[in-house]
Amino acid sequence: MPEEKEIRISQTEINFRRRLSKVPGAERLMLCYQCGTCTADCPVAMRVEEFRPRRIARLAVYGQKDRLLNGDTLWLCAGCYTCYERCPQKVRVSEIISALRKLAVEEGLLHSTYKALMKSIAETGYIYEIGEFENEMREEEGLPPAPKPEVGEIETIMKKTGFTKFIGGG
């Protein structure tokens, strides 16, 4: 029998859990009874040993900020919503992960891959640049030019929500 250890959660950890539970979608965190349906049905967990949705829920209940926000863990979720559909408690780890990502963004820990994508949307209106070359290709196929996004409008939105500063803009 492994030695039983008492787990004590510090006030800092409780505060982090509280902050997390207030993010829309993460309200039901404390109802997780660790059945593991999320991990069992996760297409990523099946192939990546360090990605365990059940463990993410547990660490979240314990308010383990650093272990959750640092590294690749949060960014390995494919967002397929399989765990969302099957969670018997409607905790929905996908939503917990989504809430944790929002806190990671606030802490300046947005993953570089995501940051680059978001920068592209902010600067070009698309996730890839769709410029002259792409439009020439489209024209050859008889397709109309791609819509020209009003980039200034997207910039205005992102500045007002404060998102701009998290993706390395002014």
Partner: protein, 286 residues
Amino acid sequence: MKYAFFVGCTTLARLEGYELSTRRVADRLGIELVDMPGSSCCGTTYLETLDHKTALAVAARNICIAEEMGLDIVTVCNGCTEVLTKANKALKDDGALRDEVNDLLGDIGKRFKGVVEVKHFTRVLKDDIGLDKIRSEVSRPFKGLRVGAHYGCHLLRPSDVMSYDDPEAPTMLDDLIDVTGARSVAYPNKLECCTGSVLGIREKVTWSVGLEKVETVKKYADIMVTVCPDCYMIYERCQLMAERSPDVPVVHYPQLLGLALGLGYDELGLEKNRIDASRILKYLEV
């Protein structure tokens, strides 16, 4: 029947075959697709996980363009479908949230009213055109072609938002395939995600997930059919990256339907598919 056509980044930039075939099939069935001036990326399913208000406002800005056009939105990407549907529903249902987002949109002279719907093209085909009508338009049905359908995630899930079909046992796409004369087969893990979202984080995982599905489909079907540009690219690219010749053609659903409606191979952009799909022509009844 007229819709605002939200093409989406990946299809616009990289998949002429998907866009061409969608436009040709729509035209053939009397669906008018109108481009959306000034529209941008939907925001992506990623942005939803990063910043709630920004995601809603970027999506709503696009929805507002369709509202100004007075048209419901048609999408061809599962991701765009989910992002726009989710924002549309959240803003229609929650007045306080709508006010907050409209405050953001006010600065760019837009206002979300909540007067349009968002539909994936397959939904328009199934619900607005109808299987009977499509069946009556099929002039050159397939015979003996076995198809491995891949629904993808965001068409179905989260099901309380998407309300598209049964998230565990959907039939919409299978029905749309069967109506062409081809047969949509059952195969193991049919609903599994392509994990395209992990591509930029752990590339090897995505390619192996892709290949696993392709290998499974190969045992049961002659080709694979997708309804999302990102899923399409994963199943095509994983085969091109593997050290063997690719042997499971991946076809966009409107390309399959288009052939059965009597449209030409090149006209549907099928020569653009990077895995030669010409073998499907021999299944067409002459």
